[in-house]
Amino acid sequence: MSDALDESVGDAPVDDQLTMGIDPWERNWMKLTIALLVGFFAAVTVAGFAAGFQLPGAEARVDPRTVAIEGPWANPGVTDLGNGNFEAYVLAQVWSFSPREITLPVGAEIDIYITSSDLQHGLKITDTNVNIMVVPGQVSKVSYTFDEVGEFPYICHEYCGSGHAAMFGTVTVVSEADYAALADGGGDAETEGTDESAAEEGDA
C-alpha cells in the first residue's frame, strides 16, 4: 500500500501522515483559538461562580392549573422585608403581569419569584441583567439590586399570542425620602400593586 502511495503521489513523504500535513501557520492558528476559548471561558466562569453574575437555576415546580387560585401567586405583589430587602411574587398570564407596577426605594434588594398559569412568557427588566423565561409548571427566581432612581419597564419577551406586544409592567425606583412619603400617604407600594392586579382580575 505505502509503495503504491509513494509512486502515485510523488514528493509527499508517507510519514507526514502523522502530522496530517498541517501547515505551521494553521497549527498556530489552532493553538491561538484554543487559548482564546480557554481564556474567555475562564472569564465567564469566574464572573458567574465567583463574582455573582450568575444564571438562574432550577428553583421549584408548581401546578399551573391551580397556581393562580392557591398559594403565594393567588395574591401576587411585593413584600417589604425590612432593611432594604424585598420579595415579589409575580404571576404572568395572557397578557399581563400581576402586579403591573412595582415601586421600590433606591438600593432595594429584591427577590422575584415568577410563574405562569397558562402559556410560556418571558421577563426582561430593561437596563438590568434580569432576564428569565417564565414557563408553566416552573418557578423562576431572579434577584437584583436597584442602585439607581428611574423607571425600568419589564417586558414579556416570549411570544404568547395576540396580546404579547402589550404585555409589560414597570419597576419605579424612587429615593428613600419619596418612598417613605409614599408609605406615609397610605399608598403603600406593596399593597398598591396587589390591589391593582386584583381589580383587573375582577374586571376580567
Partner: protein
C-alpha cells in the same frame, strides 16, 4: 483498485453524467426549496416594515390574519422548508457526483422525498388557515392543529429516509473502492445526514410522546419545560445541519470556482467529524435562562458550545487559505490585496464570499450568545434574530443561492440568465442584511424583545426609533434582492437549452495534498459515532433523566385560541 486510477479520477478526467431521473429528482428538491424561500422571504419584509409602523398586514387580511401568522410562515418556510429541501437535494447531488456513481437504492430516496412532500403539505394547510400560529419553535402549551405537528414530523422522517439512502450509497462505493479515501464532498454530506439523524431524535420524541397525542385530545396537557429541552436538543444542531452543506461548498467547491485547491483535506474532514460529535450536546445554551435546568448543566453545555467554535475556526483558516491560494494563482499580490484577484464577476463566487464575510460577524455574535452569563444581556432580545439572519439567512442562505447559480443551470442544461442581475442580487442581500442585522443587534442590546411587533408595542422608547427605521430599510433592500433572485431563477429555467459544453460544470476542488495522505481515522464512521453517543449520554443523560422522573403533563394552556 490501484492508487493510480484514483489519481487520474481526482484529476477530473472521468466525469459522472447525471441521468434525466437524477436531474429531475434533485431539481424537485431545489424547486420546492426555492418556492419556500420565495414565499417566506416576501413575508419577511412585512415584519421589518411593521417596526416603523408601516402595517401592511391590514391589507392582507383574507390571506394573513396577523403579524404572528406571517412570522410563523416566514420562520417555517425559510428556516425549515427552504433549508431542509435544499440540503437534501444538494446532498443527493454531492453524493452522486462526489462518488461518481448512482444512488444505490434510489427507491429509498424517492420514498423519503415523497414523505417530505406529504409532510410539507400537511403542515402548510393549518399554517395558512391560521391554525398553527405558534412560530417555528412551537413551544407548548401554545396548541397548533395536529396536522402541523404531524406534517413537520413527516418532513423530518422523510429526511431520515433520504439520509439512509446517502449512507447506503457511500457504503456501496466503499465496497467498490476499498482502501481509497472517500471523496470529501460526498463524505461531508453523509456526515451531515448522520448528525441530523442523531439530532432530530429530540424533536421526534417531543412530537410523538407529547405534542401529537395532546393535539389529538388523547392527553390533557404538556410539560413545557421538558418540551423546551427536547426542542433544543434538535434546535441547535439544526444550525449545523444548515451550515455543513455550505461548508461542503466552501471547502470542496468554492476553491475550484475561484481557480485554486482545497488547502487542507485532513482538517476539512476533521472539522466535519468534530461537528458530528459536538453539534448535539449543546442545547442548554438556548435554555440559559430557563427555570427548569440546573446551573451546572448550563455551564457544561456552555463549555461544549465553545468547543464547536473550534471546527468553525479551522474552517475560517482553511477556506481563507484556499481562497488566497486561488487568488495568488490568478496573479493576486499583497497581504490583503489578493482578495481583489478573486473572481468577483462570478455571481456564484461573489454570493458565497459575501456570505462568508458576514458569517465572521455571525460567529462572533454566536460566541457571545454561548458565553454563559453574558447571554443574560441578549437572551430573547432582537439581538438573536439579528444574529441568525447573519448565520442561517446569510452564511447559509446566500451560499445556497450562490450554489444554485451554477447548479440550477447544470441540472437544467442551461446557462445562468442575467449574470449582472445575479451579482446585484448578491450585493443587495449583503448590504440589506448589514443594515438590518446591525440594527437588530443594537435593538437587542437596548432591551427590545424578539418576535414582537414593536410598531404597536406601548413601551418602545424614542431611543429605539432610529434602529427600528434601519430594520425596515434593510428589510426593504432584502425584498428587492429576493425578487431579483426569483427573476433570475425563473428566467434561467425558462431559457433555451444550450450545448453540453456551455452548461456550467460541477466545481469539485482538488486537495493541495493528495487525499490518500489523509489518515484512515478521518474516513471511518464508527469511532466518531461512538464518541458522539458517549458525549451525548454524558451531557444530556442526567438532566434529561431528572426531567423525565418529574414528568408531569400538567400544562393545558389556554381554553381559547390565543392568537
Amino acid at each position: 483498485m490501484t492508487i493510480t486510477e484514483r489519481t487520474t479520477s481526482t484529476a477530473g478526467s472521468r466525469r459522472y453524467e447525471l441521468t434525466q431521473w437524477e436531474r429531475r429528482f434533485i431539481g424537485g428538491h431545489v424547486l420546492i426549496a426555492i418556492i419556500a424561500l420565495g414565499i417566506g422571504s416576501l413575508i419577511g419584509p412585512l415584519q421589518a416594515l411593521e417596526y416603523s409602523n408601516v402595517d401592511l398586514y391590514q391589507y392582507l387580511e383574507p390571506i394573513l390574519q396577523s403579524y404572528y401568522q406571517g412570522l410563523t410562515l416566514h420562520g417555517v418556510l425559510n428556516a425549515l422548508v427552504w433549508t431542509t429541501f435544499f440540503i437534501v437535494g444538494f446532498t443527493t447531488f454531492t453524493t452522486i457526483v462526489g462518488l461518481r456513481r448512482p444512488l444505490s437504492h434510489p427507491k429509498i430516496n424517492l420514498a423519503g422525498f415523497i414523505t417530505m412532500i406529504v409532510g410539507l403539505l400537511m403542515a402548510a394547510v393549518p399554517m395558512l388557515l391560521d391554525q398553527a400560529t405558534v412560530l417555528y419553535t412551537f413551544y407548548p402549551p401554545l396548541e397548533a392543529s395536529w396536522a402541523f405537528y404531524t406534517g413537520l414530523t413527516l418532513v423530518v422522517v422523510g429526511s431520515w429516509i433520504e439520509g439512509l439512502g446517502f449512507y447506503l450509497t457511500l457504503r456501496a462505493w466503499r465496497q467498490e473502492n476499498r482502501g481509497v479515501r472517500s471523496p470529501f464532498i460526498a463524505l461531508g454530506g453523509v456526515i451531515n445526514a448522520a448528525m441530523w439523524q442523531i439530532a432530530t431524535l429530540g424533536i421526534a420524541v417531543e412530537m410523538l410522546t407529547m405534542l401529537i397525542p395532546w393535539s389529538l385530545g388523547l392527553t390533557d396537557g404538556t410539560d413545557p419545560s421538558l418540551a423546551r429541552t427536547y426542542f433544543w436538543f434538535t434546535g441547535h444542531p439544526l444550525v449545523y445541519f444548515w451550515l455543513l452543506p455550505a461548508y461542503v461548498s466552501w471547502y470542496g467547491m468554492l476553491p475550484k470556482q475561484a481557480g485554486g485547491k482545497l488547502f487542507s483535506d485532513s482538517l476539512a474532514r476533521l472539522a466535519f467529524w468534530m461537528f458530528l460529535i459536538v453539534s448535539v450536546p449543546v442545547g442548554f445554551h438556548h435554555q440559559f435562562v430557563d427555570p427548569g435546568v440546573p446551573q451546572i448543566w448550563k455551564w457544561i453545555h456552555a463549555a461544549l458550545t465553545y468547543s464547536v467554535f473550534f471546527p468553525s475556526m479551522i474552517t475560517a483558516f482553511t477556506v481563507i487559505a484556499s481562497l488566497e491560494y486561488a487568488a495568488r494563482q490568478r496573479g493576486g499580490r499583497g497581504l490583503i490585496g489578493w482578495v481583489r484577484a478573486l473572481p468577483w464577476t462570478d455571481p456564484s463566487v461573489t454570493a458565497q464570499l459575501l456570505a462568508g464575510i458576514l458569517f465572521m460577524f455571525g460567529g462572533i455574535g454566536g460566541l457571545t450568545n454561548a458565553s454563559y452569563n453574558i447571554n443574560l444581556v441578549i437572551h430573547n432580545t432582537a439581538w438573536v434574530p439579528g444574529h441568525f439572519h447573519l448565520t442561517v439567512a446569510t452564511a447559509v442562505t446566500l451560499s445556497f443561492i450562490g450554489i444554485t447559480y451554477w447548479m440550477v443551470p447544470h441540472l437544467t442544461g442551461r446557462q445562468l440568465w442575467g449574470r449582472r442581475i445575479a451579482l446585484i442580487q448578491a450585493w443587495s442581500w449583503f448590504v440589506g442584511m448589514v443594515i438590518f442585522s446591525n440594527a437588530m443587534h443594537m435593538l437587542g442590546l437596548l432591551g427590545a424583545p424578539r418576535r414582537t411587533p414593536l410598531g404597536e408595542a406601548p413601551y418602545v422608547p424614542d431611543e429605539w426609533n432610529g434602529h427600528l427605521l434601519r430594520v425596515s430599510i434593510g428589510g426593504t433592500i432584502l425584498l428587492f434582492s429576493v425578487i431579483l433572485y426569483l427573476v433570475v431563477m425563473y428566467k434561467t429555467v425558462r431559457g433555451p437549452k444550450v450545448a453540453a459544453e456551455d452548461v456550467p460544470e460541477v466545481p469539485i476542488a482538488e486537495s493541495l495534498r493528495h487525499p490518500q495522505l489523509t489518515p484512515v481515522w478521518l474516513d471511518r464512521f464508527k469511532p466518531w459515532l461512538i464518541a458522539a453517543a458517549v458525549l451525548l449520554v454524558l451531557a444530556y443523560g442526567p438532566p434529561l433523566v431528572d426531567q423525565l422522573i418529574n414528568l408531569d403533563y400538567n400544562a393545558p394552556g389556554t381554553d381559547f385560541v390565543p392568537w
